[in-house]
């Protein structure tokens, strides 16, 4: 790739010696932002990296020097003009193996168009390596229409078409060929189809799957807020400015992040944090306060994950605490000086005894440990931290069962330890109350996390239930939008999970299902006409009275691992599909290749997007996940048509 750019030139310069040893020349092996021009010498669209006018991002190149040589200077040129770094915001770092990483931090460009990026790296013996790539600065059209003051991203993690259909069949019902009622999501007027590939695979995970909405760019699987580099340091990657930071800086908006997952998890973190390791734990949570509260106007953070916020030593007898290592997975963060200078962020520290909850409170946050804490808010709070579980929050299936009957606690759930966890719609309500206090508006991400997690687990009843919970959060946002018309609502996913399809309906009652011999369970699946219209009953709390109805809906999994199928709800929570119902269900063998695959997996299938409110009209057609970011920013910056 880069050899055609630099190899021939170097060979010409160095004469016979270089011809005799064609590899004795420094080469640029990576150039960030990523581009097809650099990787495949292809200058045609689509351009891989695209930014808003004035959106900040890092320029980075990896240079392989000759053995024993060093790289002494590196110049980045955009359309032929050398880029000057702000004081301290550049570095040339030896990264081992005669490799060097050169960076300029916090670059931005305000002129729309495709730009050519050239890096010229000079070796200690004056040999020069070059690499050529490109990136695009998007144009924002100043429209006559009003701007989206508030932007709400609702991400049903792993939610493909079938997850929505299943939620609709169960919560709304269908008869005589028509749905009895639409989901809240269905009432949003604009629909699009989103392509979800990540930078390094057709199948994305949740980190790039959310990063794309927050930055407008592609990331490698496992990475968020950054482009890939060649160092092992998980905190030094080239960064891209998040939407929250950009809108805080340019419009004074506030940021909210709400999830049913551990807030350290990929989807919430991809809206505020920059790391090449989505599992970086303590450091990710520290960055919420140190960077996002300071620079992104983060005013609401809610979900699970309290374990990352507590001091390691704690008081006597304390049984939770932070990771205290900066080197292993799950470590704390320290960022290099060029990142600090280029992004106006603190260095970070390995501080296992930090009391992060107390630090949030010192920064003005109201802390709610449970639903009672949320309900005790006075209404005057402008900053809200809610941490409702040590890890991921329990799912709505178990939260609702416990609310209906306090004695109902599924083995494997944490309901007994955290009995008062809010539902996503309750968290959404409080988040909207807090964020709507800002006269400049807000951007918020609300994630239904366990639609994905329980689809992985092939626990049909639990992911369907959480898809219903997610729809109720959407309904809260739609009601907010009705009262605040300058609000844009985008409901989508990050990827499809588990290859779900609704393949039919049971031909027997639940009682008959329970007494069906394991060997005959396969025979109860009714397809075509025999699927009929499964009918569920909705209780006063808005959720199904039971998921185990007669003639129930039947779900198939195409992205599956082995599982034992009973076609009934699992009395226990989060039990491995290979360990669950081994005597009561029949074995459905998985098609996933590879070692250790113990759950269903993400697929590359396109995902649906529904939008409503200010600027929603743009979200139609089939488009890339990064396009959604630019459509939303057009509405926020340039206004709707």
């Amino acid at each position: 790739m880069k050899l055609q750019n630099s190899g021939k030139l170097i060979a010409a310069i160095t004469g016979l010696f270089a011809l005799g040893n064609a590899f004795a020349a420094p080469t640029v092996t990576r150039l960030n932002p990523p581009s097809a021009l650099f990787t495949y010498a292809d200058a045609t669209p689509p351009y891989i990296s695209r930014f808003l006018p004035a959106q900040r991002f890092d320029l980075q190149a990896t240079i392989q020097a000759d053995a024993g040589k060093t790289i002494t200077s590196v110049v980045f040129k955009v359309n032929g003009t050398p880029v000057t770094a702000a004081g301290g915001a550049s570095a040339i770092t030896s990264i081992g193996g005669d490799k060097f990483s050169a960076t300029i931090r916090g670059y931005s460009n305000s002129t729309a168009g495709v730009k050519t990026l050239v890096v010229e790296a000079t070796q200690s013996d004056s040999l020069v390596a070059t690499g050529t790539g490109n990136f695009e600065i998007a144009s924002i059209t100043l429209n006559a229409g009003r701007k989206a003051k508030n932007i709400i991203w609702l991400i049903g993690d792993g939610t493909g078409i079938a997850h929505r259909t299943a939620a609709r069949i169960v919560s709304k019902g269908a008869s005589l060929g028509k749905s009895n009622e639409p989901l809240a999501i269905d009432t949003l007027p604009v629909t699009g189809i989103v392509v979800t590939h990540s930078l390094n695979s057709i199948v994305t995970d949740s980190a790039p799957g959310a990063h794309c909405y927050s930055t407008g760019n592609k990331a490698n699987n496992g990475q968020e807020g950054v482009f890939p580099d060649d160092t092992t340091d998980k905190w030094d990657n080239p960064r891209i400015e998040h939407m929250g930071s950009y809108l805080a800086r340019t419009q004074g908006k506030w940021l909210g992040i709400v999830s049913t997952a551990d807030v350290e998890d990929a989807t919430p973190a991809a809206f505020a944090v920059s790391t090449q390791d989505r599992g970086a734990g303590t450091g990710i949570c520290d960055m919420y306060l140190d960077e996002a509260v300071a620079n992104h106007n983060l005013h609401v953070l809610m979900g699970g994950g309290r374990k990352w916020f507590l001091p390691l030593d704690g008081s006597a007898g304390a049984g939770s605490g932070r990771v205290n290592s900066s080197t292993s997975s799950g470590g704390d963060y320290v960022v290099p000086s060029d990142v600090q200078a280029g992004w106006s962020v603190p260095a970070g520290a390995v501080d296992p005894n930090r009391n992060l909850i107390a630090d949030f409170q010192t920064a003005g946050f109201y802390y709610a440990p449970d639903l009672a804490g949320l309900n005790a808010m006075t209404g005057s709070e402008t900053k809200l931290l809610g941490l409702f579980n040590s890890g991921h929050m329990d799912v709505s299936y178990d939260k609702i069962a416990h609310r209906r009957n306090a004695a109902t606690i599924a083995p494997g759930s944490l309901i007994a330890t955290y009995p008062d966890q809010p539902l996503l719609e309750e968290m959404t309500d409080k988040a909207l109350t807090v964020l709507s206090k800002n006269a400049n508006g807000f951007v918020m991400m609300i994630e239904g996390a366990s639609i994905d997690k329980q689809a992985h687990n092939m626990d049909t009843e639990r992911w369907v239930h959480d898809a219903i919970e997610f729809d109720k959060a959407v309904a809260k946002c739609i009601a907010f939008q009705a009262a605040n018309p300058d609000t844009l609502i985008i409901v989508t996913a990050d990827h499809e999970c588990a290859g779900i399809a609704i393949s039919g309906g049971s031909t027997v009652t639940d009682a008959a299902l329970q007494s069906t011999a394991v060997g005959s369970l396969k025979g109860i699946v009714g397809t075509y006409d025999n699927a009929k219209f499964p009918a569920y009953t909705i209780a006063g709390d808005g959720y199904p009275t039971t998921m185990d109805v007669d003639y129930r809906m039947i779900i198939g999994y195409a992205g599956n691992s082995d599982r034992y199928e009973t076609w009934r709800s699992s009395p226990s929570y989060n039990v491995s599909p290979q360990a669950r119902n081994t005597t009561t269900g029949y074995l459905v063998t998985g098609q996933q290749p590879g070692t250790g695959v113990q759950s269903a997996v993400h697929t590359a299938s396109d995902i649906p997007l529904s939008a409503g409110g200010r600027g929603a009209a743009a979200f139609t057609g089939v488009f890339d996940n990064t396009d959604a970011f630019f459509k939303a920013m057009q509405a926020a910056i340039g206004g709707s048509k």
Binding site: A41, L199, L312, G314, A318, S329, P352
Partner: protein, 235 residues
């Protein structure tokens, strides 16, 4: 380094070179039927003697932390705290995961699987997860078993940073593993080379997923584009 290749190559070498390991291979598989037949065979061969340890106090998972949790961190119960440093018996299930560790496995109340690639440390594991430490047996590691087990050993409480990045809060220095139903002692440690499909954990500075490099130039996903500009195949 990719350990999948290692776990593929090693058994080939060992199986051809060491006849002894062939014997172990018979029960290395974690398939229920194999285990059952093994257990049955040994039951026929010699009378089963259930493990006895009257000095151990039975501790349940729900007795480890105060429930419900308060607004801050989890707290150990008085019972658990009083048992720290003493012999306990714990009944539950092995966590099923990909990674092999020569000494350590995780133990919980219900049958969990842990997919490190998918979950990282934002996992769905219960806080009462017990890190069990077994004496190391050369070239062996604890292999997953499905059945309910009772473990005996010394309880350790308090946070400790583990190499994996995890902070453990409950540890068991385990000296006896038994089938919970029968009390029959079990050997969990099986030759590493025969635990196909599992990986030896590596220091994970690169994150939950290894960083992917750009595909080399001979593999060009853009080559089927109808492009008149630069084409790598022509370079």
């Amino acid at each position: 380094m990719n350990l999948k290749s290692l776990s593929f190559v090693l058994p080939v070498i060992l199986l051809t070179g060491l006849g002894l390991l062939m014997l172990a291979g018979k029960d290395a598989a974690t398939v229920a039927q194999n285990r059952d037949s093994d257990a049955a065979a040994s039951a026929v061969a010699s009378p089963v003697v259930p493990y006895e340890d009257s000095s151990s106090v039975a501790l349940k998972f729900e007795e480890i932390f105060v429930m419900p949790a308060g607004p801050k961190g989890l707290e150990y119960t008085a019972k658990a705290w009083a048992l720290a440093g003493k012999r306990v018996a714990l009944t539950g299930f092995m966590l099923r995961n990909d990674n092999i560790d020569p000494a350590i496995f995780f133990f919980c109340e219900t049958q969990h699987a842990y997919d490190e690639r998918e979950e990282g440390l934002a996992d769905s594991l219960p806080p009462s997860l017990v890190q069990v430490i077994l004496p190391v047996k050369k070239n062996s590691a604890p292999a997953w078993r499905q059945e309910k087990l009772t473990l005996y050993g010394t309880l350790e409480l308090g946070p400790r940073q583990e190499q994996s990045g995890r902070v453990s809060h409950i540890r068991l220095q385990c000296d006896a593993v038994t089938d919970a139903a029968t009390g029959v002692p079990l050997e969990l440690r099986k030759p590493v080379a025969l635990q196909l499909g599992r990986a030896i954990p590596i220091p994970n500075d690169l994150g939950a997923l290894p960083p992917s490099t750009t595909p080399p130039p001979f593999f060009n996903p853009r080559r089927n584009r109808n492009s008149t500009t630069h084409h790598p195949d022509k370079l």
